[in-house]
């Protein structure tokens, strides 16, 4: 597998920079992603996609993006820095925000990849096709945990184990989701069913409502 650590790093650098410059004041915190945790994510993805009989030996961009997303939800550590007067985020709030940042990372990640066989770049900007899809996909990302304990210090009594069946299925399912969204992306304004959507922002819970507009600029 090609060393994609520069892609991993640039993706998180871009997402964090965009957040700090354009959204942090509105939401009351800036962010940073630990370089060490990004390296750990890359290391895990590299391990996962090497000699894995369930996945191709030379996976393409969408499987790579799925592995990045699923592994990133586990390994990447975001730091949240409250701006003056803002309250610190709780652990559960941080997890919710982490999923949003990983969601924003997908298009940035894909734009830096190409198909080796054809040399074709992934030039379209990835997005969820509808806002309803966006909400469900964000919830899906939050569900993407897999049972891996550690590393820790002191070490746990037993070496942590990855449930490979669950993880491979998660990667494959996420691959298909990301790939389908990419080919649906038209990069133009598109509302589900204009003015007839079955979501009324005032009627949904706070987390979902924020999911809808957290990345909108003023």
């Amino acid at each position: 597998m090609q060393n994609l650590l520069p892609v991993f790093n640039k993706t998180l650098e871009t997402v964090c920079g965009d957040w700090d410059d354009n959204h942090s004041k509105k939401w009351g915190f800036t962010i940073d992603a630990s370089r060490k945790s990004i390296s750990r994510t890359h290391f895990f993805v590299s391990d996962l996609l090497t000699a894995n009989p369930a996945l191709p030996t030379d996976p393409g961009p969408f499987k790579m993006a799925a592995a990045f997303l699923v592994s990133g939800m586990h390994f990447i550590q975001f730091s949240f820095f409250p701006l003056q007067g803002a309250t610190a985020l709780s652990e559960s709030e941080q997890l919710v925000w982490k999923s949003r940042f990983m969601f924003k990372a997908i298009p940035v990640f894909l734009l830096q990849l190409k198909l080796t066989e054809t040399g074709k770049k992934l030039g379209k900007i990835w997005d969820a096709p509808t806002i309803h899809y966006r909400l469900d996909f964000l919830n899906f990302i939050r569900w993407c945990e897999f049972p891996l304990l550690g590393p820790s210090s002191p070490p746990p009594p037993n070496i942590p184990s990855v449930n490979m069946v669950r993880l491979n299925r998660l990667i494959m399912a996420t691959t298909l989701i990301i790939e389908a969204c990419y080919y649906l992306s038209e990069n133009e304004v598109k509302c589900d069913v204009k003015n007839r959507i079955h979501i009324t922002p005032g009627d949904i819970d706070d987390i979902s409502r924020t999911d809808l507009y957290f990345d909108c600029r003023e």
Binding site: Q2, L55, P56, K63, K104, K114, T118, G119, D127
Partner: protein, 77 residues
């Protein structure tokens, strides 16, 4: 149900595959890959890197942001 994957072992038992987690503390985890036999994908495209300036990536995020804002405006209108 004839799903070989569902019946495959998914624990560390019998596996010797210990992967270092890259933080050089000597700890690691098991990746019992043998348990995954059977899901084989049929298409290998490979992946390569494209050196895209951060400014271009930031422009893409701005476009998505504007798109989402317009979607929400459409709902409210």
């Amino acid at each position: 149900m004839n799903d070989p994957i569902a019946k495959a072992p998914n624990t560390v038992a019998g596996f010797s595959h210990i992967i270092d987690d890259g933080d050089s503390n000597g700890h690691g985890y098991f990746l019992p890959k043998q348990a995954a036999v059977g899901l084989k994908s049929v298409f290998n495209s490979g992946v390569g890197m494209v050196d895209v300036p951060v400014s271009v990536l930031r422009t893409a995020l701005a476009a998505l942001s504007a798109n989402q804002k317009q979607r929400l405006a459409d709902i409210k209108s």
